[in-house]
């Protein structure tokens, strides 16, 4: 679990993620078998590849949730071997689950996650407003929302948490066309505000126009990047 995050000024250059021969083992299985990767600030990186290729593990490694077994890696200036606690508060992970408390309302969820980083009431209200959650949806329990509305609430929590690196696993899954458009628009806004995004997605039509860089993850390694 996290401790204090270091000041952003301490972090050098525009490189947000730098992995060299990174190996991550889940149980006894090497889910990542030597990944070399560089992501710069403001990038939207699309991770593509078949199921079980290691995309989710790569995102979790970058979030400091999975230990680096071999190789070297830094994310937002934090060493993945020794500074995972310092890294975690700076990243936001949105996996297959949304990370919400289903019995709490939208406003309470965003308020809670914002409060973990000391966000003010005004900041929380601004995030809710920005994502169209301020009026009708704010007092509703998350359990009663549609999949798209829950996803939007989860992204509001990431914004409220002031995450610098967004790690998203299939963010469009289960959403209708309008919900998908919303996600794309939010991601572009996040990048415009200085965040960096890594997205694992099977959805070519959605991810390709969004991404500034596409990476093929196959068998736990990354093939050379293709600039879109």
């Amino acid at each position: 679990m996290g401790t204090d995050a270091g000041p952003a000024e301490d972090r050098p250059s525009s490189t947000v993620v730098e992995l060299d021969g990174a190996v991550a083992v889940i149980g006894r299985f090497p889910a990542l078998a030597g990944v070399t990767l560089r992501v710069d600030r403001g990038d939207i990186v699309w991770l593509r590849g078949p199921n079980g290729a290691g995309k989710t593990t790569l995102l979790r490694l970058c979030a400091g949730l999975v230990p680096l077994t071999r190789g070297t890696g830094t994310v937002l200036g934090c060493d993945l071997r020794t500074e995972r606690d310092r890294l975690r508060p700076m990243v936001g992970v949105l996996g297959h689950a949304n990370g919400l408390y289903l019995d709490l309302t939208v406003a309470e969820n965003v308020g809670f996650w914002g409060a973990t980083v000391g966000a003010s009431r005004e900041e929380i209200a601004s995030v809710l407003d920005r994502l169209g959650l301020a009026q009708r949806l704010a007092p509703l329990p998350v359990r009663r929302l549609s999949a798209g509305q829950q996803r939007r609430t989860a992204i509001a929590c990431l914004i409220a948490r002031r995450a610098e690196l967004w790690l998203l696993d299939e963010p469009h899954a289960g959403l209708d066309a309008a919900g998908r458009d919303d996600i794309d628009s939010i991601l572009r806004q996040a990048v415009a505000s200085g965040a960096t995004v890594m997205v694992a997605s099977h959805e070519f039509d959605r991810a390709a126009p969004l991404a500034t860089k596409a990476l093929d993850v196959v068998g736990g390694i990354i093939r050379p990047p293709v600039t879109s």
Binding site: M1, R88, V93, G99, L100, D103, G118
Partner: protein, 227 residues
């Protein structure tokens, strides 16, 4: 980042709010504990004996209810992947442990108060005037001790397969000192056995247990959740 105490209180408030909204404790756990007391009453069906064993039944019913509360406390975190979000939110593991323990202790304290009331109503138990302080001290210390050990073992079992069955197997043997100590202390406070003075050392045993698991949980829960 917010301060340690702010984060701890934030977690505790959040857990209590989730319980308040879902009403699981109020509508399911509390009635369950009450039913345990009533069923024991049916099974024993001896007023004198019931009065004598009421303290043990109070503690036992609390422990059974603890299992449900612990499962619930961590189910809330895993239901929609919130535990991973907490890990990446920079919430310190000790604040998470204390926050969840405080919320659980408050629920347990309310539950025990209800069970003591039920023992008075159903079993005809009485509180010695000189035992009121001992009863309150045992009530608070046992609530905290059970909450800390419950949170620690809840964290340990949270990621395990078959955690629903694993948790009672892990937790019940460990809380045996609380069962013994709190029962003896409550017996003394209610006048079921010995004098009030005999109860204080047992309350001390429960306090030592609470302190050990509080310290152990503060140090270990981060590693347990990470693994």
């Amino acid at each position: 980042m917010t301060g340690w105490w702010d984060t701890t209180w934030l977690i505790a408030k959040r857990d209590l709010l989730v319980e308040w909204r879902s009403r699981i404790a109020l509508n399911q756990v509390f009635p369950f504990a009450g039913i345990v007391m009533v069923m024991f009453g049916f099974a024993i069906d001896d007023t004198r004996l019931m009065k004598q064993i009421a303290p043990g039944l109070i503690v036992l019913a609390t422990m059974f209810s603890l299992l449900i509360l612990v499962q619930r406390s961590f189910a809330v975190e895993s239901e929609d992947g919130a535990l991973d979000a907490l890990r990446t939110a920079g919430v310190s593991s000790s604040a998470l442990f204390w926050g969840k323990s405080i919320a659980m202790a408050i629920q347990l304290a309310a539950l025990e108060a209800l069970l003591i009331l039920l023992a008075i109503l159903l079993y005809g138990s009485t509180i010695r005037p000189s035992g009121v302080l001992l009863l309150i001290a045992t009530w608070l210390v046992a609530s905290w001790g059970l909450a800390t050990v419950g949170t620690l073992y809840g964290g340990l079992a949270a990621g395990a397969r078959g955690r629903e069955t694993l948790l009672p197997l892990l937790l019940l043997p460990v809380v045996a000192p609380v069962l013994i100590g709190a029962t003896r202390a409550v017996e003394a406070a209610l006048g079921a056995r010995g004098s009030v003075a005999d109860g204080w050392p047992w309350m001390g045993l429960v306090a030592v247990f609470a302190a050990v698991f509080c310290a152990g949980g503060t140090l270990a829960v981060g590693t347990l959740i990470d693994e």
